[in-house]
Chain length 232, copies 2
């Protein structure tokens, strides 16, 4: 197992030896490959059984802190969760992860994440539905991008000011970024459950081979964290 | 990470405190969940790209030794491969893993595995096609079982004389044993490749929940070994 450098598992270098902002993707996945259960809905955004994928994180002090709560456990997952936001300046995610599918018109709903979302950074949402940016509490702002994943990533990198960009889900937007070869690092938190159905992460990836080089393995209670560099 | 007791990751106990023979399943799986690539054939028994799942093992001294070859590497996979046959007295596998699909009539072909197969123990093959047992070199014998997976396991346990039984593939027979709740231990050697298509291990598992308890994680070159106890 290799130790990550400060600020992420891997740092890229540009031709002049400077560091390059990277797109990092962290996701919890069931052993049978699902990142959400079947029948996702507003009531069950992660689908049936999907919450099991995140049980390992809810008790952690590192997670509770970022969600404004006190107390909690410290275990080998702590460093992994702390690393998620180290040297990260912005995020991109799909409309589904922000707040479910479909147009909302003038519906003022600001997604699943409450008034003080846990991101604390600018978040660029890939969507078909234009909308003015929304500034939330705690440093999170939501920006709605209607001209594709490349544009969302460009805007996120600009906002990140040289830091890395985190990619959230859901599965479809992650697959779009994988197919386009835009992801630099994948970290899978593999959870020992079998969901049997739902949204598969590695599906519909097209015919371009995607090379992965393992960089770190961390065994922790209820989860195994597997980090890979995407070989380009 | 927990260390396995001698002779396997977990030892069961019967009501009198004695040990109970267990069914253990070791398999190499791609990160996207496939244990063989698409288009399996006699020429490519593991399907297109499927050999990539086993590259981590071919250079190991522990593997080469069991296949009658000398030399090779020692790395963290060594103890895992050595453990595969510790305290194991017999094996069960599907017809596909033995020698491809379909009836063969009087065809004397004895499968993919050569005159001195690497099992060195009695192997019980789940098939629809009755055939007399075949004794190979090196302690391997092939026994053809036409009355189902339960019978094959019973016969293997009888032949194992109190030791454990290994389950080979392919995917279909493994799924049958998983659905029937007959597997005690699953060890997945997770390989950082994306096959995109082929035979999925965790597919078609029915509606009975299958509980898995992680027992060991071993990071090694080109592979991460994940061991689980099946909770009953």
């Amino acid at each position: 197992m290799t130790s990550p450098p400060p600020g992420g598992l891997i740092q890229g270098n540009d031709d002049e030896g400077g560091t390059v902002a990277r797109l990092r993707f962290n996701i919890s996945m069931s052993l049978d490959g699902f990142i959400a259960g079947p029948h996702q809905s507003e009531q069950e955004p992660l689908g049936e059984g999907g919450m099991q994928l995140h049980e390992w994180v809810f008790g952690l002090e590192a997670w509770r802190e970022s969600h404004g709560r006190e107390g909690g456990e410290v275990n080998p997952s702590t460093a992994v969760v702390d690393g998620w936001t180290e040297n990260v300046g912005a995020a991109v995610m799909g409309r589904n992860m922000f707040g479910g599918r479909g147009p909302r018109g003038d519906d003022p709903w600001n997604g699943w994440w409450g008034d003080d979302p846990p991101f604390h950074m600018p978040v660029f949402i890939v969507t078909h539905h234009a909308r003015a940016p929304v500034t939330m509490q705690g440093g999170t702002s939501f920006h709605f991008v209607t001209d594709g994943i490349g544009s969302a990533l460009d805007q996120a990198k600009e906002a990140a000011g040289g830091k890395d960009v985190n990619l959230g889900g859901g599965a479809q937007v992650a697959q779009q970024y994988l197919r386009a070869g835009l992801i630099d690092e994948v970290q899978i938190s593999l959870v020992p459950v079998l969901l049997g159905a739902g949204a598969r992460l590695f599906d519909d990836l097209g015919s371009m081979p995607i090379g992965l080089e393992p960089t770190r393995t961390v065994a922790a209670p209820g989860v195994t964290h597997l980090a890979y560099r995407v070989v380009k």
